[in-house]
Assembly symmetry: C2
Homo-oligomer: 260 residues x 2
Amino acid sequence: MNSKPNILVSNDDGIEAPGLQRLVEELKTFANVYVSAPYTQQSAVGHSITIFTPLRTYEHKKNGSLYGIAVEGTPADAVKIGVLHFFRDVKFDLVVSGINHGANTAINIIYSGTVSAATEGTILGIPSIAVSLTTFDNVDFIEPAKMAADIIKQMWEDDKINLHEGTLLNMNIPNLPAAEIKGVKITKQGRSYWKDGFEVRKDPHGKEYYWLTGNMVYRDDSTEYDVAAVQNKYISVTPLHFDLTDYRTYEEIKNWKLNI
Amino acid sequence: MNSKPNILVSNDDGIEAPGLQRLVEELKTFANVYVSAPYTQQSAVGHSITIFTPLRTYEHKKNGSLYGIAVEGTPADAVKIGVLHFFRDVKFDLVVSGINHGANTAINIIYSGTVSAATEGTILGIPSIAVSLTTFDNVDFIEPAKMAADIIKQMWEDDKINLHEGTLLNMNIPNLPAAEIKGVKITKQGRSYWKDGFEVRKDPHGKEYYWLTGNMVYRDDSTEYDVAAVQNKYISVTPLHFDLTDYRTYEEIKNWKLNI
């Protein structure tokens, strides 16, 4: 493929997030880039859509010209309204969501707004990739954006973008200088999970409120899994889909007799 | 299993929803029932959790005694705080989410707060079932609650509750008198999807806003799939999991060479 791809970029950290803006700059070196992203931070919204209230949107400008559409809604909303309404005359080759500030590996994937934006792209029939940087530290996103864009460009040029219907890719980049990264590993979703708890506090009026707290419990050693791959200095790329059927259990229970 | 099971009930329509309250009544005929549910309607929140603001909760009373905990948060929040904090001394045998007012089949599963409450139960290591009634009509939920509770009771008594780690069940009940229902079918998640669009309106100040609209596009004829099963008058029960890895694609692409 030699023509310039049309890429819609979204995220869950909001249109002003440096992770998105650095990625947009790098993608523009080889692609036509359109932006439709939430107006504000939307982390841990999962795959939400807004159905009981209408969506408001704003033209987000930079240096006097249109940078993208800011959507008062979720990442999935932003992708839907970008593809179906604002940029409806564009034939998108790819939706890219990110770069998220923080890992989206293992169980975190199901809470992830970043992944949900890519999922929505896939639902709309467009190949989609979620990109996350595995740190909450303050970083400039310059190197990760270059690496992510370079990998996406290779996939475009090698015709690796068009996977099966309903498949998206979930990329996690370790927070390391490019020179220290060992390579790209195709992985499976890890089985690490959060050991959660609630911290109880009292407000000045004596009423209790609760903060969710938790520690990650690590369960995977092999770099076949996303968490272990990034811990071992690889960029992890996991193929995901949204067919949640547990086929192994389906085969085991499909002949259950239940009476009504 | 003969002792009374301990069941946590949640939903996404809120603690006052008749779907939840009818189900609680029926489950109480054979189980110890605890309720932790959102304070307000939370449909289409997907698998959200609240991490950047604290949670507030209220004791919801009925006839002067505690009915359950109302959580100003999402369905997943309600299950987490119910299991880990308010009812932490209870060893739960089951989390039941519902009865939702509206189907949670095919693509809707990934937007579903009802399913996400059951998913959260499973994440916490508790067997979990989501229950939905496939209508938006005003109904009293009496017959569906009896059927759901009766099926859950059979599963409990036949030791069908403990599936694989990470597996939950998603039950959808057609809106029909019990006498017209043909039976219970174990199914797969269907492939029907929404053909979405946005309806543009103008507010009294001339500013545009957007309503999400859509029609379901049906793709499955076989009652092996959830949508077709309920259309053909079966109660559909689908085993789901939250390992989103697309293993078929993983095998195909695991040896990709991508340079950094």
